[in-house]
Amino acid sequence: MALLDKYAALGAQYAQVEAQGANPFNVTFEAMISATEGRYRGKPVLLLGTNNYLGLTYDPEVVEAALAATRAEGTGTTGSRIANGSYGGHKGLETELAAFYGRKHGMVFTTGYQANLGMLSVLAGKDDHLILDADSHASIYDGAKLGTAQVTRFRHNSPEDLDARLRRLDGTPGEKVIVVEGIYSMLGDTAPLKEFAEVKRKWGAYLVVDEAHSLGVLGATGRGLAEAAGVEGDVDFIVGTFSKSLAGVGGFCVSDIEGFDVLRVATRPYMFTASLPPGVIAATRAALAALRARPELRARLNENAVRLYNGLARLGFALGPEPNPVVSAIMPSPEVAFAFWARLLEAGLYTNVSLPPATPKGLALLRSSVSAAHGAAQIDQAIGMFEAVGREMGIIGADAPIAG
């Protein structure tokens, strides 16, 4: 028995995908050209699977900020905030995030994944209860696992099931902490946050919202779903990431809770890892400033989202329940998803494949995400490629109307 034999079944699946010559889990671009174009196997590809929602990865001000900070402060901090010290930029970004959200406190983590590990592992302690939406991201499940609280999951987007679970816990000692997301990354659906807030209030629980895919996307000022739903006052903690709309890497939490800063010496995913490099911090601050100063980016993003969603819906693709920048086409099987994905890539369009157990209800998804940087013509081009491949493979009917 060799050490890695336990992965034999997984390895066989992976080898099978690899043998088809195009593996969605092993793509290396030869070059990135812009926020919407890359080069793959010698040909240009239109990028429709990046989470680059505001298209800020090549924004001149963001790039310049990264360069200037790198020149001034070096490439890395070579240590953790606790052991080796913070830079002014870390503090500055925390202050700016807190101000953006109108909260008292902000804490920056090295990735969004670590923000969830860091917050969920400490918010609920040994005698407390974490109650997660069933479709939560892996980082939420892992954060729950890293902590010592009792963890249960409730039916995705179901205030009734959340209510039932809190009722079952009524009279049980310990705090109750609910965790949901803004926009869900697999199907692009949003949480019924108003209803969740009501349930939270009814039972005196705390509410954490991961706005990873909704920061810069939803809300009058881009703060996310809590803002759009008008329930920011009921959300005790917002976590999020810099790796999507903010075009960098890193994660954060903001809150008004008293005593927040003690978490800096309690949460291991913050304490025992190196802090973000000056270039990343400076780029994120510039991207946050752009998010705030340029609402037209959000408007363009949402126009593109609706254009893609409606285009694919008209063609007869089965999609998630609402138009958002994540647009997933539900495929009949993983095999069809792989084949569809490979043909799109061959035609010059890069998308993502998402499979169970990462997806809900065992769905095989061909996942797209749009950017404010896409032009309408690029979205139409993408719809055209979906149409051609969809007809070729018989996924959509031949009598479906022409895209456009």
């Binding site: 069933a134 499940y141 729950a144 696992k145 009792q150 963890v151 249960t152 999951r153 039916r155 099931d161 039932a164 679970r165 079952r168 816990l169 169970p356 157990p357 809900p360 209800k361 065992g362």
Partner: protein
Amino acid sequence: MSDNDAELKTVIFETLRAALTKPAELSEATHIVDDLGLDSVAVMDFVMEIEDRLDLSVPLDKIAEIQTLGDLLTVLRGLKAGA
């Protein structure tokens, strides 16, 4: 006691049969992953159906320990007794 057990077993088997795409021989010795081929999320989803029917919540660390339907029965019995 055994009445209760029989009821729990019926709930488990009925729920599982409804969730499986193929008919399968089910017993307390049935291994949920090896024999039925459910992945981690499918197991949690199937347990959720049972939670609804019995009006109780099974913590995730308990679900992680469950290998056979007999293990699940034991966990549910414990939770019902504690409820």
